[in-house]
Assembly symmetry: C2
Homo-oligomer: 355 residues x 2
């Protein structure tokens, strides 16, 4: 199986709606992909399971089968969202965190762009959060002991040169491809001088790596402490272009950025590795609106676009993005998170009509 688009006759897409509104928005993304017709290879969908519901039914949150089929048969995948139990449940562990690691999807790329009032105008927010996706506190190495004063819990935060370098390369590559070519490194090295110090220095060193040969000379580099980054994101979002961050900071920053453009229901992401890409809306399983048919499908449709773009299907990706932008700009068919009154399928229909 090759990652190049050249020879593909069909595009095999794993679908893992998982829990909550994931089950409502992933089918919408599926329909939008089908509507692209011959702009992409003929899509074939493979339905896969994972999630909290899967765990309560089968005792396993991420079946081995799901991972194997993704690895062996799929060209790419779309993941919905997972519910999580409110307390520690023995044997349960977040399947999305596990999938990112098992497929070595080391980059979580989250573009946050406000739709301009008119097509062609400059959006007020136009940034990409490039989040390291395999380590930091997400290694989930935790221990619980009993000390003189009661229980003590410890978690390990891992930052490696290897992972920092490859996420740094991805971030420089992205920054270099954008008009502003500006990269902000997010860290907290005033407290975490060794872990965040390593992240910061490794990313900074990317332009001097062998083989880069001045390729990133046009990229300007800035830094922000994570607390200050969240503050400035709200006060002056226009200072950011590409932001690169360790896992947890990236998680928080992308939600913060989502608030700027109106709704988490608009923000797509891809989990990308060297051999696989998985689209995933940034919103969660939204238990409060689950099953009501009013979940916003736009983040998932945009995630499909991002996935297709990553695979090289620019035309299909552009068509999806343009259709979504038009629907948002017209503001006739919007779900309640965007102060509209439409259902998931009405919004999907509106997108399909624009395609």
């Amino acid at each position: 199986r090759s990652f190049s688009t050249a020879a593909r006759q069909t595009l095999k897409i794993g679908l893992i709606p998982a829990d909550g509104i994931g089950k409502e928005v992933i089918p919408a993304a599926r329909a939008a992909i089908i509507a692209l017709g011959s702009d992409i290879p003929k899509p074939e969908f493979i339905d896969l399971v994972a999630g909290w519901e899967c765990f309560t039914r089968t005792g396993v949150a991420l079946p081995e089968d799901t991972v194997q089929i993704l690895k062996d048969e799929c060209d790419c995948a779309l993941f919905g969202s997972v519910s999580s139990p409110s307390r520690k449940v023995v044997g349960y562990s977040s399947p999305i965190v596990a999938l990112r690691k098992k497929l070595d999807l080391y980059a979580n790329i989250r573009p946050v762009v406000s739709v301009a009032p008119e097509a062609g105008q400059k959006p007020s927010v136009d940034l990409i959060v490039v989040r390291e996706n395999t380590e930091c506190l997400y290694v989930k190495e935790e221990t619980l002991t009993s000390g003189a004063n009661g229980k003590e819990a410890r978690a390990t935060r891992l930052i490696t040169e290897h992972a920092s370098r490859r996420i740094g390369q991805m971030a420089f590559e992205l920054a270099n491809s954008r008009p502003r070519k500006h990269l902000t490194i997010i860290h907290k090295s005033n407290v975490l001088s060794i872990t965040d110090g390593l992240f910061r220095e490794t990313v900074r060193a990317v332009p001097s790596l062998p083989g880069i040969d001045g390729k990133y000379d046009g990229v300007t580099i800035a830094e922000q402490l994570v607390d200050s980054a969240v503050y400035r994101l709200f006060r002056e979002p226009e200072i950011f272009d590409v932001m690169v961050a360790p896992n947890l900071y990236g998680d928080i920053l992308s939600d913060a950025a989502a608030a700027l453009v109106g709704s988490l229901g608009l923000i797509p992401s891809i989990n990308a590795g060297d051999n696989f890409v998985m689209g995933e809306p940034v919103h969660g399983s939204a238990p409060d609106i689950e099953g009501k048919g009013i979940a916003n499908p736009l983040a998932s449709i945009r995630s499909a676009a991002l996935m297709l773009r990553h695979l090289g299907y620019t035309k299909g990706a552009d068509r999806l993005d343009i259709a979504v932008d038009q629907v948002i700009r017209e503001a006739k068919f919007l779900t309640p998170d965007l102060k509209g009154t439409s259902t998931t399928s009405e919004v999907l229909e509106a997108v399909l009509r624009k395609l």
Copy 2:
């Protein structure tokens, strides 16, 4: 030395301006305290050093003397802000993080309140971040090793039952004293089930502790994952009253909340323990405006108010807060962070005139 206000003839206040604009705003807070006259015991100020500048001069960021004088002679203190080197410097470690630990100032209390257009009207943002101040990643236990793939850095995140319980108690006490009596526990236990699980469960268990006897029955409890909390803070700040969080989340959340009310230059905090309290503006050393005389002194004056309130000097604290609110509402004398053109001393003079 006792922590009760009863018998005090004088109030001994340690002043640690430290670096950057700390040196401009702490003197302003000092002047405001002096202006309170007989509403507080006669203040006596003790000038103390710490910080990056102190380190570059003496090789020590937090002199033993500073700690000892705070412990032995001071009733309370005001801390300015510290600059930090952009790279790891051998022997340097943040003096504010060290002070919080050495004086066991386990609670960092950060009220964020928007000034209502008219006195008496309800502010749109009125919340308090109660941040655990001694552990989490701030234990600064970091290691660096060399693996097959290059350097690997690890940090320990420590969450104890003991520290979670006392910060929980502080948060419930605060929530119970406020009209809305609403407490939101911030965590990320969907990923960190053991460490954040312990934090969450320990805080939740506070109302059932022996001796509480139904005292907190009126407090409603909610929870938010930290990423979602930042998102909702921007979208619906009115849902929050008191938020309690582990150290790093609290750091990020308080900066996020500051963005909501216009400027970090307005946000005060106290670092409080059972035996000592230290006021500290939430803003940093702001190297970009250092020495220009335009730093906003209001966060420091409010920090002084918060410190006095914590010590029981309600009348003095109220006078400072009311004066600051009036100056903001009138909007005649404001520093550039609030889109004004006044200097630090003009804003201070405006506050002093209102006292």
